[in-house]
Symmetry: D2
Subunit: 281 residues, 4 copies
């Protein structure tokens, strides 16, 4: 019996960074949490304990800070690309470098009609994500969003579903529909895209969620993905992962009370989960 | 040796609730997580296992949903008061009832200049809090806020501090100051206050944080509390608890790079913590 | 109107530390997360931004590591005392120092009948806690435990409780009782106690939980506290905080199935919460 | 441009369950958190809102409880298989069913030399995992472990690594090595295996970690995987994912103190991450 080292990677995770720049009294901040993964010729490190091809993960960390100093960070994607290029160029022992970025979103403090020059509030649990998966032949850039919580109080049904002996769910013509949007899309070209596009993709998903006459969360997921693919020529594929965050109508009949869509119990577990990828042919 | 039952309480925690109401095609939602605590004559339950004075926590739960059905929830405070009154009136065995509410904040989805009639996004990790501490003689209402993340990129110093043999910190004329505001204030009168006041208190704290020429986080905390007490006659006391979320300037000199307030390392641990109560005499 | 600075404190939280010592090829580790709070004469720092009495929290951090190097850490309590004494002696501006420690528990890896000399597994989510609250006149030492999950599958009832119009709970003769023990006790003398006592207190609580003929969680809480106070002369007070982690019997009657204590639904929310202090007179 | 629905699945997550059985006064409990995913012919649900092929996730939930009542749960794997078989047999619209189980581990309370008949403590943050990935042609069973925290205080080096201009890490002959074992292995035959095997795999990994003369975490990972594949003929593949939980030696030279492996700073971020699959040829 022989044993073979199959897929393997190593790197540094949860590398945190805030990049500050000041222009004309106006302060700009970008906060990222990065993950770095190397794939390559690391067989001897595993089987023999030979570290000659292992760039320490501590060096990856130092590199992130040094490069962040030398270059402005226009977008999470552009910085990921920059890091991937740097590591591939210097490390012939690697065949693939993957950089993942999670951006903590900050909003300028509004004061009256204006925005503050240097004070920011933490916008939300929502995160912007970017990833670059690079070999010497190909670069794939994903952009995305995580943790965007959304709820609609009407225009959502779930009827006509399959039933078996364990089905007790009642048909719903008008239920609350709530989810946490997790989306990841792929640009046709390996170029970092503008912040404006990211914001438009986000708004397209939200407006579709809001205005869709939903027959199920699958139905709404598809509508959201379709709207993005139709509107943005540069996006060739989108994957959505949507938990169905149930708000259950509380049964108050024991207390001789009706409950016409008034009192709901929010629950985290169990929850549904709907996932799909939509792709242009 | 005799053993005595001292301070004790019991109740239900993490009671979740969404209240929906519709007016003229406009949907309103309020989402709360409640905690209930009873104090009273429960000695025999503890020492003898006699449950005759124990209203089950399951009944507390049912009561929350039944009352939420019968009454609109104008504010978290008003619903807490309502529950406290209900429980005190029906349960002579209790001497004190405490209700805590944490409100999950939802924002109407903006579409162009308008707000959507029934679709909401989860505003942030920020939570509005309310609590009512009620006996048959007195009611104390606290309002507050938790999880409001805020950062200023300049106008914050920390100099002239006490030094001993273990002090290595350098004086800072211009550092990043970041915190997560946790505040709790006390109204003079045991009346639930309007949403407008809560929003104004919040904005007063944020603007003070932004515009204060900070010599330390203690200094800024005090300015924030003072501004609230000066502006709002109805508030007689405020407590602030502010972690000092350090953003440390990365030392890049090893790589022959300067770092003029460009690249920072955000850290969660360790962190400073500053807490104080300000009170009107 | 004048504004007064009332109760206030500052310090450093989430200071992490692992202390390693080697004796005769046998390695010992102690891992602590510390919190430090100073109270004292800090009015001018708040109201005037005068930092001359402020020892930086960064210095507190350095002090922890320097003292940990110079002294072995016998127990969490002894190290907390050491720190409190150090800070009070050097800082006349402080009136009170509070040190909290949370100990991450490690267990030697068992190999056959033996324990490994230098390899440990993370024992559990359970934490040992210690705190010292010290002024120049008095020191109070608490020891305790958090996160100790325990469940009994029988010998737990809840019957004969108070009912009102919102009561639907059925009487239970034989239910699952589960909780997460959080306990904190006070020694008569301000001396750090041995690890042996801490282990015996823990075991006393667990055995009482197991063998008690429970009429309610209040009833069991009281029995646990009473057993500790009876057995340990040095302990004068104990506070227990016990969530009632409900395991609800699933109703399968719709599917023509009975459920004689076979299938339960574990839930985290809502949950009961029972808290009490027992004290020797 | 046409849009195509690509990979998609739906199901229920975080389904919690405790199964109790009593034999001869001896109580047995098994606590699982389940996830269910269906793949199949769901195009019309997405693109047309036609739910006729959608078995509600609520029905999946009911099925879990009904089947748990009708059958004992010998192991997490056997219950996953049972569920997968049930769903595939009744649902011709599905092509693939995946069941994931996470087992909360409970330990009988030790009292002296004995174990308690019906009282258990929550063993640790460690979880046993099982998954079944089933089509009508093939079943793949994975077993595994998550959250097993382990630390060795010596016999770990990291030397001779690749250096570049951003490398500052010092060579270490004797460092603390700590990780959280996440492992997942594949049995040759699609049969649920005994608890004994799972325990032996776990112990094999732990003893290898302890006794290995580690040149890097990659080196130790490989040794752990190799030991498992050598010892267990039935296992054909194992994947390990090991974060490098850094314990950094604190530099106390500023305070004129040496630090000969005495005081370490535990950190969660950033951390290394090493992942690899080992496979029998």
């Amino acid at each position: 019996m022989s044993i073979r080292l199959d897929e393997n990677n190593y790197g540094k995770q949860r590398l945190r960074l805030l990049r500050l720049s000041r222009r004309d009294g106006w302060h700009h901040i970008k906060e990222l949490t990065l993950g770095i993964r190397f794939e390559g010729d690391f067989e001897s490190a595993h089987s023999k304990g030979d570290n000659r091809k292992i760039l320490p993960t501590d060096t990856m960390k130092n590199t992130v800070y040094a490069l962040a100093r030398q270059h402005p960070i226009k977008t999470a994607e552009s910085f990921c690309l920059h890091l991937a290029d740097h590591f591939l160029a210097r490390n012939p022992q690697t065949s693939r470098v993957r950089i993942d970025a999670v951006e903590t979103l900050w909003t300028r403090l509004p004061i009256g009609d204006k925005s503050h020059a240097y004070t920011f509030t933490g916008a939300s649990a929502e995160r912007r994500i970017a990833s670059v998966d690079a070999t010497r032949n190909e670069k794939i850039i994903h952009a995305g969003i995580e943790g965007l919580v959304v709820l609609k109080a009407t225009q959502s049904a779930f009827e006509g579903f399959l039933r078996d002996e364990y089905t007790t769910l009642k048909e719903a013509r008008n239920r609350i529909l709530a989810t946490v949007i997790s989306a990841r899309w792929l640009y046709r070209d390996a170029e970092p895209q503008s912040d404006a596009i990211w914001n438009e993709v986000r708004q397209t998903m939200l407006e579709t969620f809001a205005d869709h006459d939903s027959q199920s969360l699958q139905h709404t997921l598809y509508a959201m993905g379709e709207a993005v693919l139709h509107k943005f020529g540069r996006i060739r594929e989108i994957r959505l992962s949507l938990p169905n965050k149930h708000y259950n109508l509380v049964d108050l009949s024991t207390f001789k009370l009706d409950n016409p869509d008034a009192v709901f119990l929010p629950t985290d577990e169990p929850h549904g989960l709907i996932e799909a990828t939509l792709r242009k042919d």
